[in-house]
Structure formats: C-alpha cells, structure tokens
C-alpha cells in the first residue's frame, strides 16, 4: 500500500506546478504536525515508558527493564483481559442484534419520519454520559424501579441483585454504545435499494434466503463499521464498569486507569495500554484485509 501511495506521490509531484506543490504542502503540513504531536509522539512515549522502571511517586526512572512485560504473565491479568474481551464482544453482538432491526425499521419508514426517529436515537447524547450511567443505578439497585415493579406485581419475594455485576456492566455498555451501532447501519441500509427485495422474492427466495443472500452482503459495510465503533471503545471502557460493576467487574480500562492514577505505576500502565492497542488493531487489520481483497476482486 505504501509504495502505491509513493508512486502516486512521485507522479503527482513530477507533473504538478510549483504553485500546486505549495497548496499541497499547506494542506498536508498541519495534518502531519497534528498527527506527530498527538499520535506518534504519545505512542512513542508509551512504548518508551513500558521498558523503563517505575518512579516512586509516579513517573519513571531512566533504567531499562523488561520486567513490566513479565508481569503480564500473571493469570490475574489474563482474567481481566478475558473479561474485557468477552464483555466487549457480547456488547457488540447485543448492539448488532438490537441495532440492525432498529436501523432497518428506521430506514424503511417514509422519508419524513426517518429524521425524527434518528433524532430519538441521538437525543441521549445531549445528556452527560456519567449522568446516564448513574441513571441505571436508580433503575437496577435493590430498591430500584425494576425491583419495586416486580415485587409489587408479586413476581419476586426478595429484590434481585441486578447491580454491581457483569450483568449491570453489560446493560450499561449496550445502552451506551447502541447509537454507535445504529448510525453506521442506518447509513448503509438507507442506501439499500429496496426493490432488490422484490426481485429476490420474485426469483423464488423466501424472506430468510433474501436476507442472507441479498440484504446481509449489501449491508456488510455498515455491520463491520458499527461493530468496530462499538467493540473498540467498549474494550477500553472504564467508566461504566467503575460505576455499574462495583469492585468485582474490572475491565482493562480500569486496570490502566488504576496503574496511572492509583498505583502510580506508569510503566506497567503503559504495557497494559500497548496490550489494548494490539487487541484493537487486530479487528481493524482484519477489516482492512477484507476490504483490500474486495477491492482486488472487483
């Protein structure tokens, strides 16, 4: 991919006039500077910190060591890592299962309705994320809305423990990230040509076959985009598990936060950050791989 860009650049520069070259520089330089200071530099710092020794009051000592990486071998961290992946994966699947029919529903309404429905999806963003997560405490706690309702209907004798466990965290994550699934899905489904449904049925495909053979492949882009947009931030979440998970449901994000702010162990915090970056990179690389193959196939 890089040499493709490079040859492109060479031909471009060879034919461009000076003036055009100047324009291009004006456009490219700020972005390059921005990327350098806010992306490349911090990343390098994280890499560097991960091989240094811990300073007593935070910060680092300039002593190289690989011991921070050795610490990763401790099964405790594997457990947290596993839980993070599992919760993020579960959240992604749940968001997809809820978001897909919803996006499909919105996209198949008459045009004048669609914007109103989309607005309803977006409205929660107008409230602070923390406030919205705290609201779930009111709903889920032992004296909360759900328990009061269920016991007043005599469906339960004792209040259910709905809060401070994986269940609560999952609900919070699904709730928080659902819009990130719905919006890209809507964008693809809205462009879907609904007359293809007629054509498919006309050719003998029932609803299920039509969905699998026509709708799914043609909305795959939205599905992948939505899943990435949900999975990536969900893996690194620390606010939702902090508030709804209590002390029991720690995720990777909590660990990182804890190492930097609580334990003041910046090098190990950096190691954990790198692990998360790698985890997040894997699905993205797979995505690019698929997209590239598709491009070649066409």
């Amino acid at each position: 991919m890089f040499d493709r860009i490079q040859t492109h650049w060479q031909t471009h520069l060879a034919t461009a006039t000076n003036r055009r070259r100047l324009n291009l520089a004006v456009l490219v330089i700020p972005a390059t500077i921005w990327l350098f200071f806010f992306f490349v530099l911090p990343l390098l710092m994280v890499l560097l910190y991960s091989v240094l020794e811990r300073g007593i009051y935070g910060g680092v000592n300039w002593q190289f060591t690989l011991s921070n990486y050795q610490r990763l071998l401790n099964p405790i961290y594997w457990g947290v890592l596993g839980r993070s992946l599992w919760l993020a994966l579960f959240t992604t699947v749940a968001c997809l299962l809820i978001g897909y029919p919803l996006a499909f529903f919105i996209a198949s309404r008459p045009p004048q309705w669609r914007n109103t429905l989309l607005l309803l999806v977006i409205i929660p963003f107008w409230t602070n994320f923390l406030v919205r997560i705290y609201a779930w405490i009111i709903i889920l706690r032992r004296e909360g809305v759900i328990n009061v309702l269920l016991s007043s209907l005599n469906l339960i004798d004792q209040p259910l423990d709905l809060l401070f466990n994986s269940f609560a965290v999952t609900i919070g994550l699904v709730y928080g990230y659902l819009p990130f699934m719905i919006l890209p899905l809507y964008a693809t489904i809205e462009r879907f040509d609904f007359s293809l449904l007629d054509a498919s049925q006309d050719l003998g495909a029932n609803d299920l076959k039509t969905f699998v053979r026509i709708v799914l492949p043609l909305t795959l882009r939205g599905i992948v985009a939505g899943c990435l947009l949900v999975f990536i931030p969900a893996v690194g979440e620390f606010i939702t598990p902090d508030i709804l998970g209590g002390a029991k449901t720690i995720m990777m994000g909590n660990l990182v936060q804890n190492q930097f702010l609580g334990a003041r162990h910046w090098p190990f915090g950096s190691v954990l950050s790198i692990v998360m970056i790698v985890i997040v990179l894997i699905p993205i690389l797979i995505y690019f791989r698929i997209a590239d193959e598709k491009l070649k196939a066409n």
Partner: protein, 380 residues
C-alpha cells in the same frame, strides 16, 4: 381457450398519508390468454404497475381474485407463484456477477450446480450476453443490464413473464431494436408475456392484444388493429395515435346510415347500423391519415370545403391543419411520397377535403356547449 391469467372483479385501494382511501384499481376484469403477448397500456398513474404487482404477488387485491392458469392465488407469496418479473429499474443484485445474478433463481429452486451452469449459459446465449458472465451490473451498459434482467427471469422458465416498462430507460434506437428482439423471443420461447408500457407505439408494435387503461379502469381490450381502427371511446382514440374529434347531432337515420350535423353548419352521411334517436349528440373520430387533400380545381361532388391554417413538414409526412367549420379544425397528414417535391398547399388556401365515409368512427358520447345545443335543437 386456455387462460394464463384472469383477474376477476379486482379492486385495489391504497391508504394515503392523510388516511384517505384511494382507489387505484376499480372492478377490474381481464383475461390474458396462454402464450399471448398482452400489453397494459395507459398514461402514468393509471394503475399498470399496481396490476402487475398484484399478479406477481407483491400487492394483494382489496377485493376480487387473481387466477394464474385457473388457480386462485389468494395470498400466495411471490416466491410461490409461477410468474417472474422484469423490473423497470432492472433491480439487478449489485454484489453478484452477471452469471450469479442469472443463477440466483435456479439456486433458490435447489437445482444441481452442473445443471444451473448449463441453463445459465443457455439463457445468456439467448439474450446475447456471452463473454460478460463475470462482470458486475455496474460495469454494464443500460441495454446490457436490461438483457441480464431478462435472462434472470427467462432462465426460471416461468409460465408467465411480467414486464414493467422494461425499455423505458433505453434510448430510442436501442428501444426499437429491443422491441423487435423481445417480440421474436416471445414467439421463440412461447410463454405468456404481460407487458406494461405507456408508449402506445411500443404496444402497437409488439402486442397480440392490448388493454387500454385509464384511472384504474379498463377502457378497451383488443388487437392493435382493433384498438387503432375501432376505438370504443374518446380516450382510447385520443391516447392511441392522433385523432380528430367532431361533435355532431343526429338529424336523420335511414338505410343503415346516419346524417349528422356538425357544429350546426356541416352535414355528413356516415354508414352506421345501431339505432340512434334523432337529436342525439355523437362524436366522430377521424384519423389524420385517412383524409385526403385536393386543390380547389379537383372535381368531386362528395368533397368538403376547407381552408389551410397551418402546414408543418415532418420528414416522412406533412401535417396540415384545415379549418372545416367555424368551430372545428381537422388535422390531416399526407405522406411525402415524391422526393424533393414540396407540397403545393399554402396557408390560407381554400382546398377540397375527401373523407371516406367508412373511415369515420361514431362514438355515442359527447355533449355540446350550452349555446350550440340550443341552436341545433331549433333546427331539428
């Protein structure tokens, strides 16, 4: 006579945004014969697509019944009906290749891969698309896409093939070529074609029979010749080709003929058998090409008098507008048979007009404006 499709008292109402009911199809009865090329012809919004969608199963009739080969369809879904559709926008699957598009319908039937391959090959050969099997729809021209849509429907070997304005997006030349090709293909494969179009010329060229529709009603069903030569109402005469309409009042009926007074000033004798009361207002339909123009010096006792109002040269023929009475003009077309020789008639010239009596068609409809009506009544 075996029927491919029968619509019995079919009604279709849609509920609009304001919840008001809208009758798209009213009490429709149609019988489409096995193996014929049947066209549904009518202006935009008359309900052609709605009829087609009810046959295919995408809409269900509000009342009435759709029968395919004598079998009532009821609420049977599209994928269980022995018909296939070629859609107006083709509706090709963009993520599949040409071959995959055509194979789709066969795969749904669970046919073996080897057989699918050979049938897809045959279908693509029939529509002359060999060599494009691995292209995607967006890499094809409009005409090629239209052929893929056709192959995709044909390969299923349906008993009836439905077409919704399949040539609408093509340019004129290609459209004409495809019209002939489609007609030839229909005769070759021998299946029933139900063809929706708003292009009267297209319907006349291709069809065995045509149903002319207006506002959800069938006005006339017949062969192209019958529709053109013997329209049963003013709408059909007006919609199919060009027509002159003269309003007249019956003043006498004798010996199988009518004497009609046109605009209170011109009497015409027309052969007509059915009984009509004296004083009845009728409409005369005269096709522009069935009238001949002659110079004033021409001797013909039956010729009418007129004055040329307008002359327009149209290439194959010349179109004249001739003032016939104080209220009515007549459009007349003359073929330009002789090369390089322009027509002698000029605007303002007095001419003689010959209308053969049996080329005038009588429609028992029409009404006169208030002042004409009273004026004519005094005469009778």
């Amino acid at each position: 006579m075996k029927l491919a499709i029968e619509l019995v008292d079919v009604v279709k109402t849609f509920r609009g945004q304001n919840q008001r009911e809208f009758r798209a199809i009213e009490q429709l009865n149609l019988q489409i014969r096995d193996g014929e090329f049947f066209s549904l012809l009518g202006p935009s919004g008359c309900g052609k697509t709605t009829i087609l969608r009810m046959i295919a199963g995408f809409e269900s009739p509000t009342a009435g019944e759709v029968l395919i080969h004598g079998e009532a369809m009821g609420d049977r879904p599209p994928f269980h009906r022995p018909v296939n559709t070629v859609f107006q926008n083709y509706a090709l699957f963009p993520h599949l290749t040409v071959a995959q598009n055509v194979a789709f319908g066969l795969e749904m039937e669970g046919i073996a891969q080897a057989q699918i391959r050979s049938r897809v090959g045959d279908a693509l050969a029939l529509v002359k698309l060999n060599g494009l099997e691995n292209r995607r729809p967006r890499q094809l021209s409009g005409g090629q896409q239209q052929r893929v849509a056709l192959a995709r429907a044909l390969v299923k070997q349906p008993e009836v093939l439905l077409f919704d304005e399949p040539l609408g997006a093509l340019d004129l030349k290609l459209r004409k070529a495809m019209q002939l090709e489609l007609k030839a293909m229909q005769q070759q494969v021998g299946i029933t074609f139900v063809y929706v179009t708003h292009d009267q010329e297209e319907a006349l060229t291709m069809s065995d029979r045509i149903a002319v529709l207006s506002e959800g009603k069938v006005l006339q069903v017949g062969t192209p010749t019958a529709i053109y030569e013997e329209p049963t109402c003013r709408f059909v005469a007006d919609f199919i080709g060009e027509s002159n309409f003269l309003l007249g009042q019956v003043i006498e009926q004798a010996n199988g003929g009518l004497v009609v007074l046109v605009d209170g000033e011109l009497t015409l004798s027309i052969p007509y058998e059915p009984e009509l009361p004296v004083g009845k207002v009728i409409t005369l339909v005269i096709r522009p090409e069935k009238v001949t123009l002659h110079p004033q010096t021409h001797h013909d006792p039956l010729a009418l008098q007129g004055t040329i109002q307008d002359v327009v040269y149209l290439g194959t023929d010349t179109r004249f507008v001739v003032q016939l009475t104080s209220k009515s003009t007549l459009i007349i077309r003359r073929q330009n048979l002789h090369p390089g020789k322009l027509d002698r008639f000029t605007v303002g010239e007095a001419v003689k007009i010959r209308v053969t009596p049996n080329s005038m068609r009588v429609l028992e409809e029409g009404s006169l404006g208030p002042e004409t009506a009273s004026g004519v009544l005094n005469l009778s």
